[in-house]
């Protein structure tokens, strides 16, 4: 083999083979093709799963981490925060997030985003899971509305999500009380909803409270339903003792709104833009069953010390309204003070609720003609609180309701106490007019004369004694004269007997004359 010549010989001896060059590509090329296909598939899947990018603006980026913080709905990941940056004007943070493709239909203007973190609010603890997993962004998707890609995150999680069946109601109150957002809405002690928001109106002093009542309890709210602030404990003292009303432990701590429909109220559906009053307490709400109030003005001349606003107006002990205002008025013409007391009467309490105003006026006119008057009365002897009492005073001076005044004026009578006082004053005045000194002088003179007379009787004593002894003697002799064994007695008896005999015969004769009067002239028949 090492010899070059032999090598050459062999090469010449062996003919060159026909070489068939097949240039079919090797099967090995399948590997890169498969690799490319798989890579392309993965890339396609990653790209196709990529949904729209959105921008959410938050007050602070607390708990937000770029690339980590997820956006979840019902604990399903629907997106992830990609970038967190400060807003150019430093007023907040701008958070870029990429959503999943399925999120596209509900990225509308109604959709709300908020950061879920551990919270204790509204009587419930939420977001505890985020203690370990870190915060995430919650979303309340709304399909209806214009699609947008830029959102303003809400700072507090919405109390009610859009999908929850139920209904929202608007309450208005003068005092907000302690109804916090998220506080429970109670119906007979059961939590049936939440307070969505509670805010002071910009224009007036009313507090508008929005509540959400879950289905099916929202059907329990009618047009006549009353809402009250069920915050804390309602302690009231009445004739029956101390009354303590609470709704639930949660409402004691954080407040709440309770509602109830008065028994017998019509079950009318609630209008779309209905606004309910929010009463301060349950008793307040119960009292205001009669929403229709008619103002009347009562003029009192006497002191209204002890008459507070809100004092009841009673008719024979039954409340028919309350005092709305007390003022002082100087009547220039008459040069005297008058105190107008504005009361609100609930006429439904004593007239037909369906009656018209004219009918109602006629009724009241009739009652006033019959003697219905308002009067101040002491409601509480200890505290001296006054109430306005309505009662029938048939003997009162005739009066009428002044209907044409801005507020109808209702006739009044003075208070009973005042009447007594007036009478007493008159009495004292009369007593003052008596000539007391003259009477006293005369009385003194009379008494002196009397004493002189009595002193004079001292000399009469001994004479009187002898006179009495003599009288005694006289009586003793008289006794002997007319005693039972004296002759005079016997004589007297016989005389008396004869006298009775005579009287009898005289009676017979009289009878005779009555039956036979002629015998007086012609004598007795038998004797003829």
């Amino acid at each position: 083999m090492s010899d070059p010549s032999s090598e050459r010989d062999e090469a010449e001896a062996v003919p060159e083979a026909e070489v068939e060059t097949r240039r079919r590509p090797s099967i090995v090329w399948l590997i890169p093709v498969v690799a490319a296909l798989v890579g392309a598939f993965v890339a396609y899947r990653a790209l196709s799963a990529r949904g729209p990018s959105i921008v959410i603006r938050f007050e602070t980026a607390e708990g937000l981490e770029a690339g980590k913080t997820q956006i979840k709905y019902k604990d399903v990941e629907v997106g992830v925060v990609e970038d967190v940056a400060l807003a150019p004007d430093l007023s907040g943070v701008i958070c870029h997030a990429s959503m999943v493709k399925d999120a596209e239909p509900w990225l509308t203007e109604g959709t709300r985003f908020w950061v879920v973190k551990p919270r204790i609010a509204g009587g419930q603890v939420s977001g505890l899971g985020t203690l370990f997993s870190g915060s995430y962004i919650g979303v309340d998707p709304v399909r209806e509305g214009r699609p947008v890609r830029s959102f303003r995150g809400v700072e507090t999680p919405p109390v009610v999500t859009m999908r929850e069946p139920g209904r929202e109601f608007v309450l208005r109150s003068e005092r907000g009380g302690a109804v916090e957002m998220g506080a429970p809405v109670l119906f007979r002690g059961i939590t049936v909803g939440r307070v969505v928001s509670s805010e002071l109106d910009a224009t007036d002093d009313f507090v508008t409270t929005r509540i959400f009542v879950r289905a099916p309890y929202d059907l329990r709210v009618h047009a006549a339903t009353r809402f009250w602030n069920a915050s804390g404990i309602d302690v009231s003292m009445g004739a029956n003792g101390v009354r303590l009303a609470t709704q639930s432990l949660v409402s004691i701590l954080i407040g709440g709104v309770a509602f109830e429909t008065p028994a017998g109220a019509p079950e009318e559906a609630v209008g779309a833009d209905a606004v309910f009053p929010l009463y301060a307490s349950q008793s307040d709400a119960e009292e205001r069953h009669f929403t229709h109030t008619v103002p009347y003005l009562l003029y009192f001349d006497e002191s209204v010390r002890g008459l507070a606003i809100g004092a009841p107006v009673e008719f024979r002990g039954i409340k028919v309204g309350e005092v709305a205002d007390v003022r002082l008025e100087f009547d220039r013409k008459a040069a005297r003070f008058r105190i107008p007391v504005l009361v609100e009467i609930e006429p439904e309490r004593f007239t037909d609720p369906n009656a018209s105003d004219a009918e109602r006026r006629a009724t009241i006119d009739r009652l006033v003609a019959a003697g219905l008057r308002a009067q101040l009365k002491t409601g509480n002897l200890v505290t001296g609180q006054l109430i306005v009492a309505l009662d029938m005073f048939p003997s009162a001076r005739p009066a009428q309701v002044v209907w044409n005044a801005p507020v109808p004026e209702f006739p009044t009578v003075p208070a009973p106490l005042q009447e007594i006082t007036a009478n007493l004053t008159q009495l004292v005045q009369r007593l003052g007019k008596l000539p007391v000194e003259q009477i006293g002088a005369e009385l003194r003179d009379s008494l002196a004369a009397l004493r002189m007379t009595l002193e004079g009787t001292h000399d009469v004593g001994p004479a009187l004694k002898t006179t009495l002894a003599e009288a005694n003697q006289t009586l003793g002799s008289a006794n002997a004269l007319i005693g039972p064994d004296s002759g005079m007695d016997t004589e007297l008896r016989r005389t008396l007997f004869e006298l009775s005999e005579a009287a009898r015969s005289l009676g017979l004769a009289a009878e005779q004359i009555q039956t036979q009067p002629q015998s007086l002239l012609f004598g007795k028949k038998g004797s003829q």
Binding site: M1, E10, V19, G39
Partner: protein, 220 residues
């Protein structure tokens, strides 16, 4: 064997191909294979197929290298490992893992992972591509160095599987339910594919081609 490359280049070496012979891979018998290049040859002793050079070495290596490059992109882009710890999910790609260790001051570990998972596969792909191009161009430039490069490539190939091993072990070990769970990501699959494909590519490449070209022979 012990001969330095420099020596071999200077002399017209007596290689098996120069003698028209082929060594059987299985039993080591040297058989004469003059001219029969594309026909099927068998070892007269053990019956194994005989060829002068690895069959279609360049073509196959090219295919595998291209496949490896294709897989290399998703291997680095997709997450290799997803750690779910107390409800908090974290996905890490190879590079983010390296950065994580680097930021947390664990730079030796970062260096190890960076070398094993990024430098080595990349170096292998570049080396193989370079070797393939040099063979195609019939370059006679430093064949001995290039052969050494090839040997290093073949040697370190398996070490880039470290990443895959770590992920595999972690996935098996960390099964603490809600406390912590580790799941392998899609990136790990691609990364494994890159490692395997580069190893196969190194295997199919015939380093003898480096010398064939430098000696003016045509590839087979």
């Amino acid at each position: 064997m012990g001969a330095r490359g420099g020596v071999a280049v200077t002399v017209r070496a007596r290689t098996a191909i120069a003698c028209g012979c082929a060594r059987c891979h299985d039993c080591g018998l040297i058989a004469r294979l003059s001219g029969v290049v594309h026909a099927r040859a068998r070892c007269p002793r053990c019956g194994a197929s005989l060829h002068l050079r690895k069959v279609r070495s360049l073509e196959r290596t090219w295919a595998l290298v291209i496949a490896a490059v294709t897989c290399y992109v998703p291997a680095n882009v997709l997450p290799v490992m997803t750690v779910t710890s107390l409800g908090k999910q974290e996905s890490d790609t190879i590079l983010s893992g390296v950065l994580y260790f680097l930021v947390h001051g664990d730079w030796p570990l970062a260096l190890v992972i960076f070398t094993a998972s990024i430098v080595v596969p990349l170096a292998k792909l570049v080396t193989l591509t370079g070797l393939l191009i040099s063979v195609h161009r019939g370059s006679s430039w430093r064949p001995a160095d290039r052969t050494r490069l090839y040997r290093v490539t073949e040697l370190i190939g398996r070490w880039s599987m470290v990443d895959i091993y770590v992920v595999t072990i972690l996935v098996a070990l960390v099964r603490l339910g809600n406390l912590a769970t580790i799941e392998a990501g899609t990136g790990a699959v691609f990364f494994g594919a890159v490692v395997v494909l580069t190893m196969l590519a190194a295997e199919t490449f015939d380093p003898r081609l480096i010398w064939d070209r430098s000696e003016g022979r045509t590839a087979t």
